[in-house]
């Protein structure tokens, strides 16, 4: 279970570049729940994920993972508990290393170094089996450098690696956005499968309303550093893309509420 409490972060405070990226973000992810974050550009979606992963320290608020307050933990210490997949398929893997070597590296994440990259037979068999389960025909290419694979294949492997150790929480940041539609659909399908099979607690940022409606059981909508809508339970099951569009419209409309509009309305509410 992940609790995010009253999280706030302002970048470049007191300068002309000041951005109030998070303004009191509050939510709890139930154990084994799969949630999506959607929102306008720059609304703070990635910043929420970064705060959870520990890329920076929040100005205010707390992050509690399975009852342990990890707010002040450094990033590397959290890495053992957190799996991440980014938008860029080249971000999560080392291009010149083979598929097997990359996976072994992931298996040792957060553990003491010095065990070497040697791959024993059992491990190799396990790797083969799990790569085969991706159904991408990669099980015969375990020794090929990962750099020779397509974006979709690399992203599928990154997903496999990020979930290999069954992380306490899986963070996905638009992890299908850079792929062609067919690969994106394939990776999205794998994502749902793995999360369901391993009962992972997962938080996925996506720009695809279609994914948001189809994949997770909860949709959190952000705008300007705040949560403006939270669809879960029966509400989420009923929500469709046009409903999300309508909510977006309503939320962005608030920005049209300028001071001159306020003055006008003050005179016309009696």
């Amino acid at each position: 279970m992940l609790e995010v409490k009253n999280l706030s972060k302002t970048f470049s405070p007191g300068t002309v570049n000041e951005v109030r990226a998070l303004q009191g973000v509050d939510f709890t992810l139930a154990e084994g729940g799969f949630s999506a974050i959607i929102g306008t550009n720059g609304s703070g979606k990635s910043t929420v994920l970064n705060a959870i992963a520990g890329t920076f320290q929040p100005d205010e608020g707390r992050i509690i993972l399975d009852g342990i307050d990890i707010t002040r933990w450094p990033e590397f210490k959290r890495a053992a508990l957190i799996g991440r997949v980014f938008q860029n398929p080249f971000a999560g893997t080392a291009a010149e290393m083979s598929i097997a070597e990359n996976i072994v590296m992931a298996m040792k994440r957060g553990r003491r170094r010095g065990l070497g990259w040697a791959v024993d037979r059992n491990t190799r068999e396990e790797i083969g089996a799990r790569v085969r389960a991706l159904k991408m025909g990669l099980e015969d290419r375990l020794d090929n450098p990962i750099g020779t694979l397509s974006g979709g294949q690399r992203q599928a492997l990154t997903l496999l690696m990020a979930t290999w150790l069954r992380p306490r929480i899986l963070l996905l940041d638009e992890h299908t956005a850079a792929l062609d539609p067919k690969s994106a659909a394939k990776v999205a399908e794998l994502t749902s499968e793995i999360i369901a099979r391993d009962k992972l607690t997962a938080l996925m940022v996506t720009h695809s309303m279609q994914q948001a409606v189809a994949m997770p059981e909860r949709i959190i909508m952000m705008h300007r550093g705040k949560i403006v809508e939270d669809y879960h339970g029966e509400m989420k099951r009923r929500v469709r893309i046009p409903d999300l569009v309508e909510t977006f419209n309503r939320v962005t409309k608030r920005d049209l509420f300028s001071e001159s509009a306020a003055v006008m309305l003050m005179g016309q509410y009696r």
């Binding site: 309503r250 409309k253 608030r254 509420f257 001071e259 306020a262 006008m264 309305l265 016309q268 509410y269």
Partner: protein
């Protein structure tokens, strides 16, 4: 496929040549529904040159037929080839086929075929004498706390219409956090819950049950509106702003205070709605800018185009000779607000519903309410405003076509 049309008396004759199949059915259906919206309620399809009709084509014809049937219009197919007639008969739709000759333009008439569908304004006087009695609840002036003593529970029977700010609940205390804009039209009440997400709730007078709300504000007109005005956009008049409609109503009613219902197809609405209940205001609450954003949502643009509005309001005409608006007692003390015309002040709320065609000609407001509120749930209830900001003002709400029911307020209007 090619469509040509001509107008003969009340009929619109559409000649369709070519194939009515999957690639054309959508175009065909859209075109005809558009003509129906524009007031053509009696359509004859001249099918002499219609060479083929697929099941997609039949579906389009069915959509047109259903729309016309719902508004008391007529739909016939004339001169069809045997292939098309056969297809229709086998589909059980033979009743659309007509053997009668097509209506002809009377050669004696001077300008055959150019008669407009209906005059763009048409007045139907009713029981003009009855007049409306106005009941007022005036327990809230923005942005002060609601005056608990003056708030009242008001019931909304079928013989009246009105607007205000209220909420449902067993007591004022139970309702105080749920006060939002409402309209009440002949026993149908649509009330907007005061939060951004909420869809309006609907309450309906049925049998013994009469809906009621605890009101912080209300303007309720008892009685039947005596006049009906039908309006329709014309080439020289692309749409009617609410104040243009009010101007017409005042001219007809020849009085200074009226209550009205206007139903019609929306060109655009400009308005706002509460997103927090005024029942939450207390002595220390400060509402200026930007706090107002926590209390109101503003449409921000002209919204709900092509949907249906049911606007309910009370309006007053300030006699031209009464001096400047600022000095007029009406302008300073009244609960009525500026409109697009200096001499007219009004308070109006609009319920937004999915578009539904109304039959042409005289139609009772009671029947309209049953039809519109009975069919679908409202999408929103808005307090309409006149956004007269220089430069980026959005103007007034406006309708393309529809009907206004209105009458003189003969009792209670002096308290406005």
């Amino acid at each position: 496929m090619e469509l040509q049309e001509r107008k003969v008396d009340r009929h619109l004759i559409i000649t369709a040549s070519g194939r009515l199949d999957a690639s054309w059915s959508e175009f065909f259906q859209e075109h005809l529904l558009q003509r129906i919206r524009a007031g053509e309620h009696h359509i004859i399809l001249d099918a002499a040159a219609l060479s083929f009709l697929s099941s997609m084509g039949i579906r389009a014809l069915m959509a047109v037929y259903k729309e016309l049937r719902a508004i008391g219009g007529t739909f016939l197919i004339a001169k069809s080839t045997s292939m098309v007639s056969e297809t229709l008969r086998k589909s059980g739709l033979g009743q659309w086929l007509s053997d009668a000759p097509l209506p002809e333009v009377d050669p004696a008439r001077k300008h055959p075929g150019v008669a407009p569908v209906a005059p763009s304004l048409e007045h139907f006087p009713g029981d003009v004498d009855s007049g409306l009695r106005l009941e007022i609840v005036d327990a809230w002036r923005p942005w002060q706390p609601v005056d608990r003593q003056r708030s009242r529970e008001l019931s909304f029977p079928r013989d009246g219409f009105g607007l205000g700010i209220g909420g449902a609940g067993a007591s004022y205390e139970a309702a105080r956090n749920y006060l939002g804009e409402f309209v009440a039209v002949h026993g149908h009440v649509a009330v907007q819950p005061p939060d951004e997400r909420g869809r309006p709730d609907c309450l309906l007078s049925e049998g013994e049950f009469v809906p009621s709300l605890h009101c912080a504000q209300a303007l309720f007109c008892r009685g039947a509106p005596g006049h009906l005005l039908r309006f329709r956009a014309a080439d020289d008049h692309p749409c009617y702003t609410v104040s243009a409609l009010l101007e017409e109503m005042f001219t007809i009613a020849a009085t200074t205070t009226i209550g009205f219902i206007a139903a019609g197809e929306i060109e655009g609405l400009v308005g706002a709605a509460l997103i927090a209940s005024p029942g939450r205001l207390h002595e220390q609450t400060e509402v200026g800018y930007p706090q107002i954003k926590e209390w109101l949502i503003f449409s921000g643009e002209r919204v709900f185009a092509r949907e249906q509005a049911v606007i309910v309001g009370v309006a007053r005409k300030i006699p031209e000779h009464s001096g400047s608006e600022e000095n007029s007692p009406v302008a300073s003390s009244s609960s009525l607000m500026a409109t697009g015309r200096r001499s007219i002040r009004s308070h109006m709320h609009a319920a937004v519903l999915p578009f539904q065609m109304l039959p042409n000609g005289p139609i009772a407001s009671m029947a309209m309410a049953a039809r519109l509120f009975g069919g679908a749930s409202p999408r929103a209830v808005l307090h309409l405003v006149n956004d007269d900001r220089p430069g980026d003002g959005l103007g007034e709400s406006a309708l393309f076509q529809g009907a206004c029911w209105f009458g003189a307020i003969v009792e209670g209007g002096d308290l406005l």
